[in-house]
Symmetry: C2
Subunit: 470 residues, 2 copies
Amino acid sequence: MNKKDNIVVIGAGLCGSLLALRLAQRGYKVAMYESRPDLRTTDISAGRSINLALSDRGFKALRLAGVEEKAREICIPMYGRLIHDTEGNTFASNYSGRNGEYINSISRGDLNGILLTEAENHENVTIHFNKKCTSVDIENTIVHFKDYETKEEFSVNADVVFGTDGAGSILRKSYYLERKFLFSYSQNYLTHGYKELEIPADALGKHQISKDHLHIWPRGKYMLIALPNLDGSFTVTLFLSYDEGEYNFNNLTTEEKITEFFEKEFPDALKLIPSIKDEFFNNPTGALGTVKCSPWSYKGNTLLMGDAAHAIVPFYGQGMNASFEDVTVFDEILDRCDGSWEEVFKEYQKQRKEDTDAIADLAIDNYYEMRDHVANPLFKQKRKIEMDLESNFPTEYFSKYSMVTFNDEISYSKAMKKGRAQDKALLNLIADNEVITSLDMTKEELAVVLKKVQEETNEILEEDKVAGLK
Amino acid sequence: MNKKDNIVVIGAGLCGSLLALRLAQRGYKVAMYESRPDLRTTDISAGRSINLALSDRGFKALRLAGVEEKAREICIPMYGRLIHDTEGNTFASNYSGRNGEYINSISRGDLNGILLTEAENHENVTIHFNKKCTSVDIENTIVHFKDYETKEEFSVNADVVFGTDGAGSILRKSYYLERKFLFSYSQNYLTHGYKELEIPADALGKHQISKDHLHIWPRGKYMLIALPNLDGSFTVTLFLSYDEGEYNFNNLTTEEKITEFFEKEFPDALKLIPSIKDEFFNNPTGALGTVKCSPWSYKGNTLLMGDAAHAIVPFYGQGMNASFEDVTVFDEILDRCDGSWEEVFKEYQKQRKEDTDAIADLAIDNYYEMRDHVANPLFKQKRKIEMDLESNFPTEYFSKYSMVTFNDEISYSKAMKKGRAQDKALLNLIADNEVITSLDMTKEELAVVLKKVQEETNEILEEDKVAGLK
């Protein structure tokens, strides 16, 4: 590693711009190439999630790069889920029983803009827009580009290449196609796709439904969610099967059928989405895929980071947070490792891979939880007890959701292992009537529940260990 | 589906030739294309496993096609594992506590030859050797080939195409590259590769070690196994890391180092492998990969079967059996489904996919079991009890291994679910001293163990169900 190394970052999205900024702050010179135009001056939102959930792991990385406060200024706190049933009734389910633990709705574009500006303002960074990476010669670290404006093709000779070029990464594709090593690779799609719709602000520019919540309309086979925007609108996302069930993307082809579907399943939401027909027909249907791969690096030449290394489905609200945490982890390794890039890259994957695998699996878990379980009585009892435990024993009980979302000192893999065991313990204790689940439990009663959950969780973990399960 | 349909089968390996034979027996006309020369007249064994384990699921499919007896004639029964320690001591571990349950070592080439001859003798089948499939136009069901002898390229226009072209399937690659649908796909490699060696027959043409066992030298970080051949030899396979640990494929580059490694870890085996140096340097190092994908079919045009759809690692001895069982399952669907090929293909995947996913996962489990656990005291106690339970309660207790290997009426997915729970139950009962594990247990004592294992297994399954785990 040498501060004079010619570093190329492919992709100036959320992960790439934060990485470039942080490398620049550490004294490295970075040239960043992005296929799209500058999103600060062009509207390129079509087809991508307009807002995302930002939480503790993301903030930690932003803090490291000195941009936490700028990000906080454009955040809308969401304290819990607000569940809507088909009658239009709602009930709230908090994300945490502790005060000050909430997630934040944030505009992808605005946050990316902040990071681009910070990076661009650093003397060590240059940003080149409209330059589409077409392939990477990983042996010779030569990156091939096409200029979208001039249509010219050109190549950049780098010392080190970082691929932060997202779920459809060209660097990753080059690993796959160049066949220089055994490349473990998976792309797995859910049977459902998604489509974005909009609840506009009211005439006064205010939010029409609670802006303090992430709204969910869980219906088992499909689901609608909505996250607030600063302008008073909500971005609504419909998750629906491509081709199964009575209603699916393949057969919702007429305005009548779309209206019938929404009137039956989401009547309260339908009233708030005036342009549903146009949006449904004009907005693209997105796929929901998980990408895992290994190795992430080739020698000391190239490294995949962010979605390029581990794209996940959006149901835990951790995609951006995981990519930002990549930068935190990579930075820590740069602090303690002064060997070659190759050693740094290997150490980085060694430390990081099981955590990104874990959040990918947790996000799939939450797909089922959000679709089905949030409206399930057993699950509701469990969440109620968890909130009570967290508020009464704030330093002793942490739900799986809290560990993943609000506790960046617990790795994703540890949060998954302990969180799953704890969920299993609690669900079985409730199902077997071994804990009280009355509405108003005293602290003494809750202390008994806490002890039982802890014991049962430890027993589950111990039994898995004896059985040689991970 | 029409008996006059022009059916092309790509790949005349084990699965392809059995499929072609069975389709022909049902009245379909099949043209089968194979990239290699005819293995009945050419030695093309290099680099592929010379012998394989054949068990009940495989026999069932062979029986369906009327070739079971011909296969049985070239089988060598293996009744259990024979474990070799570093001192040269051995102990046996049976595959089953019931009589008549054993696996069989069989020559891949000889079995493939039997199937080719049977297929070729059927008037509905034509076989074309040395024809390498280069790509498939899945929309128009046109298969492109190159003739390895004449070097000419040609295309075949089919009504239906079956891809039984193995782990490196060209049909599967065409799915991936044509991007006509969301194709979930994974290729995952273990950190270990494998290399084949040989224990020749003795001067009298006899086996030098027990031919009634599958031999294992488990060493944690590496493993040697040996399966008997009819000519008195054994095919030995070394499983070793590519680049980790004191000894690995990357650093075993001199005769001295290879000898040092084998003298230290496999001294008894070393004495029996006279050509170790030549074999180690000349035989290829194979990769151990798992391939899963979905969907297997495109419309009613094309279908992946066998390794092309689900390549697995060899540690459960089920690769060939799973591919043969594909043919059994497909045949059952043809019996009860008289719709279009598209319906048949969808129904086939619907019924079969979770089972091939399960055997892939079970094979990975067994990788760790064979490397580590077989020599572990807790695991040995468990196997001892399982053998006692199976011999005393032959209709009531079936180990995971028995369910997978000897009970073709239990699907792989059910065998995995129940088998894993049962293993966990038994290991925890032993670890907690809740069952007696003395050498000579009475039937009454074993009845108590059986009851406890059954109760604990059911409780584990019930607790997983409450927790929403699969």
